[in-house]
Symmetry: C2
Subunit: 223 residues, 2 copies
């Protein structure tokens, strides 16, 4: 009987199952809760079994990240490059909202997985096809990705939800001395008074970049 149950485990456990369980654990409990021991428990197995399928925890994280990248919408080479870049950016933000642990790890990843290479290839392809030089395509991709990563990481770590901004501002206002922080005080007061809603826009920065790129491309600075 113990033979059968072990045989069952052998059939079920593999790198993909481990990766999926790890992502689910990191999504629901946070990345700091992802330990080899907890993951093993979730899988109904001993911590050490995992090492038969992945080299170590870093290897597991790489597999998890490559899966996240697979959720990015792959750019079409042909077509409206601005719209294609916008669709990719939005899909990346959505993937990061589903997997909030991913951006800091993904941006720090040294070796690139299969999916990352596919994403980079298609992104460069779209821009080059639109008339960008290799150098300009590289700069453009870098600037767009900076915004996607920087914006979503700020967004993910913002301490209050959009529908609580006004209440939070009213709560913090007394702690922001008008004499010490006049503009922060003014901005917080404007929020309390409903003069603006405090919601930043992903598309605001993205449009600044895309419109600037379009303008430079049209005037021949990038081609």
């Amino acid at each position: 009987m113990s033979r059968t149950s072990q045989a069952d485990k052998r059939r079920t456990l593999n790198a993909q199952k481990i990766t999926e369980a790890a992502i689910e654990l990191a999504d629901s409990q946070g990345i700091e809760a992802l330990s080899m021991r907890k993951l093993a428990t979730q899988l109904g197995v001993t911590a050490m079994s995992i090492y038969n399928h992945v080299a170590n925890k870093d290897d597991l994280l790489s597999l998890m990240l490559d899966h996240v990248v697979s959720e990015f919408e792959r750019p079409q080479i042909k077509g409206d490059w601005q719209e294609t870049m916008r669709r990719r950016a939005h899909s990346m933000r959505q993937a990061f909202l589903r997997h909030p642990w991913a951006p800091p790890l993904l941006i720090s990843t040294i070796t690139n997985g299969e999916q990352t290479m596919r994403d980079t290839d298609a992104t460069l392809g779209c821009l080059i096809n639109a008339g960008f030089t290799y150098a300009a395509a590289d700069w453009a991709r870098n600037a767009i990705d900076s915004h996607i990563y920087g914006y979503t990481m700020q967004e993910l770590n913002f301490p209050v939800e959009p529908d609580e901004y006004k209440a939070a501002a009213a709560h913090y206002l007394p702690m922001i001395e008008k004499s010490d922080f006049p503009y922060l005080h003014g901005a917080t007061l404007a929020l309390v008074n409903g003069e603006y809603d405090g919601v930043t826009q992903f598309d605001f920065g993205l449009n600044l970049l895309l419109e600037g790129l379009a303008r430079q491309l049209q005037s021949g600075q990038l081609s």
Copy 2:
């Protein structure tokens, strides 16, 4: 004699000394090498002594981050807002190059320290003084910071140094199948052939943002 040495320790150890030693350790050995035990050894003291001056490791990290923020150039309220924002951005990038562990922690920090509030106040002040509404100043600051954080984190984690790009490209080229990754292959080949240098520019994305903001401000969309 043991009395004197303990009295000496009491005089020397304080939150500021601990913070400085922690920053030095993180700068030189990496943030993952910063443990309470190693930090204590560096300070010639027991790990537990540290807890007499900081609440816990998170508290220590907050103190470290507030010090990093103090190295940002504080925006002048009056003056050329574009130039002021550019100076702040460059000083932030330089601070992050000195303290590469800081950006992911700083962008994730929930509670803001004194220096962070001063930076935010002066940044908003500069933009509001230039004619931005509260909302527009918030969007602008968010977009600029997204670029600073996103760009520097990509830069800090890029696996090769600029003067090794060409050699690295030549090394990786055979691994990038032309049929699988045509554009990545082409870009790498262009790098090997010296058609472009592969160096991305911090100012490229920053200028796109600032020029776009200036254009929208001038046309009355943000005021």
